[in-house]
């Protein structure tokens, strides 16, 4: 029974009140919900201004194609003059608006908070897991890569913080299928 004056309770992408955390031997798979996302696209002819805004916001140089800059605010490249910005939801629920306020006419920003589900994998030998999931060569990565790829038919971003810490962003509505794919690959690989 729901009370219409009560607080609106959010659900995780997997449909529960608290994020799901699975431990498989040395590998931990965590559903992450404290994650705000905003797309950031430079407007035509405003590329330099837009880049400056984003650089100031994340406090570092912007990542190039296939790259990510990880930190409290994480930025990864998604296309020519366009990036995705990731920050804690608790403090940046209005991330798109914050960025828009800074960029004004220099960039378009769109809220993507709940467009994605996020799973973080931690543990050794994640390359063994990901080689069963997608064509990304994790063994060749040194950390700081972000790649759009397909995992079990789902368009995902794979962000490599380090070879033992990888984040997967996938379509939120298919969080269950993506989680199943990740669990299956982990169990197969380790």
């Amino acid at each position: 029974m729901s009370d219409i004056s009560a607080r609106m309770e959010p659900l995780t992408p997997l449909g529960t009140k608290t994020p799901k955390i699975d431990v498989f031997g040395p590998v931990t798979l965590s559903e992450v919900v404290d994650c705000a996302l905003a797309s950031f696209s430079a407007r035509l002819g405003q590329q330099d201004a837009a880049r400056n805004v984003l650089m100031r916001f994340c406090g570092s140089a912007l990542p190039g194609p296939g790259q990510a800059v990880l930190g409290t605010v994480t930025v990864f490249w998604t296309g020519p003059e366009q990036w995705m910005v990731m920050a804690p939801h608790d403090t940046h629920e209005d991330l798109a608006e914050q960025l828009k306020a800074l960029a004004a006419e220099a960039a378009s920003t769109t809220e993507q908070n709940d467009a994605w589900c996020r799973f973080d994998l931690k543990g050794p030998n994640l390359a063994d897991v990901f080689e069963r999931l997608c064509p990304i060569n994790i063994r060749a990565s040194s950390g700081g890569e972000a790649t759009r790829t397909s995992i079990d038919h789902l368009g995902c971003f794979v962000i490599v913080g380090a070879r033992d810490a990888i984040t997967v962003l996938g379509p939120r509505s298919a969080a269950g299928s993506l989680h199943h794919a990740l669990v299956t690959a982990i169990r197969s690989a380790i």
Partner: protein, 983 residues
């Protein structure tokens, strides 16, 4: 039968006995055995019946090229037909059965075929089962299928799982024999990322099967030392039980790893097999060579095998098919088998050497210039007849013959991209040609270097060249010492005059069949292959093609290279369909997309339907409702009477921003968008470039430079792709940015006379959503429980309606809140069926109408195509053929007899006209029972339909058996003026 043919030595583990059964008879073998080696050790030579003539057969080889020893492995759901006994690793409890025999392997009734073999020669089917045509499907084919058998399928779902995976390397080495090992050592030490793949469970290739020494060590000991060094290199990945099955574009290879085939059941969570896609910068084919047989009379009896297989069984598996053997050879390599078998205590009755100048030996009798002209022993070889050089015939008692006709470099993978092998006269065999797959080179026996030293050296050289190509410095490892015997061969393909000399033992093709094909003018090798089926079995003719070509060459009177070879195709060895499917099967066939209200809908026992990959609630049955129509009628009636709620999250949402956003939408939609005020929504119709309707939806203007476009659920991806194409390719000079936000927002339709009253209870009071403040087609930002929300006053049902959106994580909370607030109004939640009924009642087009053949004119929206602007499809929508006076127009239909249905797909005929395609007047696209009107209704496309309102026409649906009169009416059955929308 206690391993009476087990020899000493070998690479088997005698401390690990393994129990297994073959045709329900229990046997024992050892860890390291294959099914074939264990059966031979148990004095079982007969392992199968041939495909066509049901002739008794035993193994010809000791490897994956095996044509004969084909069995069914395992039981129940894991039953696996057509498996080669020569590669099946023994495990405890293995059950194997022979196939293609009845009632038993030893006594097979179908062997009668063999008596009629003269009628069953090449082309028999084509010549015999020609008449009458109707008999083919009903009579001939079932009989042939039953008689010509392979194994039988499990007929149960495969309980195992299969993974797919992706690997990357600088250097892929296919084959871990002496060549591959030296190449891996060279490249591994140079720091290259190396994958060394071999189909065998052991690395080492032929070195495991020979008594040849390397650096004065046993070959297999040298292999273990190299393997240990490679295993310590983090940049080298050794993949055993992994067959590289295909060479594809850009250095990409397919490889099948048999992770659990050697186990009774895969370990928990582990796959049975993994199909790898290997991305390589360079590759080295070190797949070795395959010995070829010589065709002679009755050369298929169990016990007759390749000479190399004979010594492989003896040396690696410590097994022999018989205690007395003979060798039949045309080259020096055959003598190795005689030596190795004799050293193991097996008696060598004779070496029959086709070369007249063959050297005599003190250890065994050499019959120079002799040939085998016949054999005896129905279910296993008992003796051979040898025609000596002087023309006399000698009978020799033996239980096995090792045949060596020379070695063929294994060029299969080198030819996967139509590369034609080249003739190497010095070894009388085809080797790799010049036209190799990109990045591939060939080394070792696969390149024609048939000595051990030649293979080792070639491996180093091959790797060094690849490393230089990759810009890596290499220090060549010191070459080990090994034999470097030259190839001494005098080509000899078949013994002349034989009646039943088998070339392709898997497909039962004889030398005589090849002659017949030639006689009947099938002279191209490709025709020969198809007419005789030579090389068309699952072994792809690895041991037989060469013999066929040689005979063709004799008949045609031209050298073998001019006869040519047939095409090699992936997969190199048979590969289970399950491996290609991977995890995408059953419930995981494709991903499932769930709506934000999914959990709540499940709690209500909703009936779901797949829409694209979405699971949407179709209807919500309540207690007492026994038929779906009861639920749907209730949902429709209650929505129109009071209020209904529907999850519409699945509709595509695309965020469009930029200074030129409105200009862009003006291009995308055929109707004008430039002047849509901020805070308003407009319906839009998108055309394809050819003027046909693509999709429809709405665009809400949230700011001067910001729209949210909605699409239909089914077309969400296609429309987004189209918009990106238009943005990037057609109008790159416009300032527009696009991104999908479909998943970001949970969106619910709230429709019906009480929609606003319900929403007022839910939307925070600081937001004025009165009709005046928030009129029809308004949009704006509101909040629900202080959660950011978007509100759109749009309607698909024809009722006063809103769509309210919150960030998806609050979707579950919002549906519960809407339902709770709606109790006061007896609100219903409705599914896609009620949604469909209401949109048909309202006359709204949907996917059935936007079916890829209809234009704006057909849809009754011709005037929406703005003449003052250029939009995609507007020009071609003016084509003559699309604008004729009798164009199809969207109309409504109602049955003259209200009890009759109006089924979708029915065709419309003018009354009195013939019912045929020439007189077709149109067709029904969408149909339903309207609970509001109390009868069936439909939307249809009818010629000149807009001017035929009131006409009674004939509806014909042969599929559903309907043929009755319907009246043409307006497509808007409910509220044609739209008054309800605006209150």
């Amino acid at each position: 039968m206690t391993q009476s043919n087990r020899l000493d030595g070998g690479l088997i583990n005698r401390d690990r006995p393994i129990n297994f059964t073959f045709d329900d008879i229990p046997y024992q073998g050892f860890k390291g055995d294959t099914l074939a080696s264990a059966l031979l050790a148990n004095n079982v030579r007969l392992m199968g019946r041939s495909f066509k003539y049901h002739r008794p057969r035993g193994p010809l080889t000791a490897s994956s090229e095996e044509p004969n020893a084909i069995v069914e492995l395992r039981d129940g759901a894991r039953k696996e037909p057509n498996t080669r006994a020569t590669t099946a690793e023994l495990f405890e409890g293995l059950t194997a059965k022979s196939q293609n025999r009845w009632p038993s392997l030893a006594f097979d009734m179908m062997a009668i075929n063999d008596r009629f073999s003269s009628f069953l020669a090449a082309g028999f089917y084509y010549k015999t089962f020609m008449w009458p045509a109707a008999f083919w499907e009903k009579l001939y084919e079932p009989i042939i299928r039953r008689a010509a058998g392979l194994g039988s399928a499990a007929l149960e779902p495969d309980p195992d799982s299969y993974d797919k995976g992706f690997l990357h390397c600088d250097f892929l080495i296919t084959g871990a024999g002496p060549t591959g090992l030296m190449a891996a050592l060279t490249a591994g030490r140079a720091g290259a990322q190396v994958i060394l793949a071999d189909e065998d469970s052991l690395v080492g290739g032929r070195l495991n099967c020979e008594t040849i020494t390397v650096n004065d060590q046993a070959g297999s000991d040298w292999v273990r030392a190299v393997q240990a060094e490679l295993a310590d290199m983090p940049n080298v990945r050794i993949m055993t039980r992994t067959t590289v099955i295909g060479a594809f574009d850009h250095g990409i290879y397919g490889a099948l790893e048999r992770v659990s085939d050697h186990l009774p059941v895969p370990a928990n969570g582990k796959p049975r097999q993994i199909l790898w896609r290997i991305y390589s910068k360079r590759s080295l084919l070190a797949a070795g060579a395959i010995e070829r047989p010589i065709a002679f009379e009755q050369n298929d009896r169990p016990g007759i095998m390749l000479a190399s297989a004979l010594r492989a069984y003896a040396n690696r598996w410590a097994a022999t098919p018989a205690q007395q053997i003979a060798i039949f050879t045309n080259n020096d390599d055959g003598y190795r088998s005689a030596a190795d078998l004799q050293a193991k205590g097996v008696s060598v009755a004779a070496v029959i050497d086709t070369r007249p100048d063959a050297q005599t030996s003190a250890e065994w009798e050499v019959l120079a210039g002799a040939t085998i002209v016949n054999t005896s022993g129905r279910r296993g070889l008992t003796g051979i007849q040898v025609k000596l050089a002087d023309g006399s015939v000698r009978h020799i008692k033996c239980g096995a013959v090792g045949v060596s006709g020379g070695w063929n470099p294994n060029v299969h993978l080198a030819s996967h991209q139509r590369g034609r092998p080249e003739w190497h006269a010095e070894i009388a065999a085809f080797g790799p040609g010049q036209n190799l797959p990109q990045g591939m080179s060939v080394a070792g026996a696969a390149a024609g270097h048939l000595s051990t030293y030649g293979a080792l050296k070639s491996g180093v050289e091959g790797a060094t060249a690849v490393l230089a190509d990759l810009g890596k410095a290499a220090t060549a490892p010191e070459l080990p010492q090994a034999e470097d015997a030259p190839v001494k061969i005098t080509p000899f393909w078949h013994v002349a005059g034989a009646k039943r000399a088998w070339l392709d033992q898997q497909n039962d093709v004889t030398a005589k069949d090849v002659k017949l094909a030639h006689q009947e003018n099938f002279v191209s090798v490709e025709h020969l292959k198809r007419y005789t089926t030579l090389g068309m079995a699952t072994d792809q003719g690895k041991t037989s093609n060469m013999g066929g070509l040689a005979i063709m060459s004799e008949l045609a009177g031209k050298p073998i290279p001019q006869v040519g070879t047939t095409i090699f195709r992936p997969p190199y060895t048979p590969t289970a369909i399950g491996a290609f499917a991977g995890r995408s099967r059953d419930a995981d066939f494709r991903p499932v997309r769930k709506t934000p209200s999914h959990t709540w809908a499940e709690e209500q026992n909703a009936v779901f339907v797949e829409v694209g990959m979405w699971l949407r609630a179709q209807w919500f049955p309540r207690t007492g409702e026994t038929h779906w129509r009861q639920s749907v009628d209730r949902e429709v009636l209650q929505t129109r009477k009071s209020v209904g709620i529907c999850d519409v999250t699945t509709l595509g949402k695309i965020d469009v921003q930029g200074a030129d956003a409105a200009t862009f939408l003006n291009k995308i939609y055929c109707n004008p968008f430039a002047k849509v005020p901020v805070g308003k929504v407009r319906y839009g119709l998108m055309l394809r470039e050819d003027g046909i309707a693509m999709d429809d939806g709405t665009a809400a203007r949230l700011a001067e430079d910001h729209f949210v476009v909605t699409t239909t659920t089914a077309n969400a991806v296609g429309v987004y792709r189209h918009m990106e194409f238009v943005r990037q390719c057609l109008f790159p000079d416009l300032d527009v940015q696009l991104i999908s936000t479909t998943e970001a927002w949970a969106q619910y339709s709230v429709a019906g006379p009480n929609a606003r009253a319900l929403l007022k209870k839910v939307v925070d009071p600081e937001h004025d959503i009165s009709n005046e403040a928030f009129p029809y087609m308004a949009c704006g930002e509101v909040s629900v429980g202080q959660v950011r929300s978007r509100l759109f006053r749009i309607s698909f049902s024809g009722e006063m309606a809103y769509e309210i959106a919150v960030p998806t994580r609050y979707g579950d909370a919002l549906i519960r809140r809407l339902v709770e607030a709606g109790k006061e109004f007896d609100a219903v939640v409705y599914g896609t069926e009620a949604l469909g009924v209401m949109r048909i009642e309202k006359g709204h087009a949907a996917g059935n109408e936007l079916n890829g053949t209809t234009s704006a004119l057909n849809l009754g929206m011709g005037r929406m195509v703005n003449k003052k602007k250029d939009s995609i499809g507007s020009t071609l929508s003016k084509r003559d053929g699309m604008n004729g006076p009798d164009a199809l127009k969207l109309v409504g239909l109602k049955p003259v007899d209200p009890s009759k249905p109006v089924p979708a797909g029915a065709h419309l005929m003018t009354k009195g006209s013939p019912v045929d395609a020439a007189h077709d007047q149109g067709y029904v696209t969408s149909a339903c029972y309207s609970p509001n009107l109390g009868h069936h209704i439909a939307l249809a496309f009818l010629r000149s339909g807009d001017s035929r309102l009131g006409e009674v026409i004939r509806l014909v649906s042969p599929l559903t058996g309907q043929d009755h009169d319907v009246e043409v009416v307006s497509a808007h059955f409910i509220d044609p003026e739209g008054d309800r929308l605006r209150v």
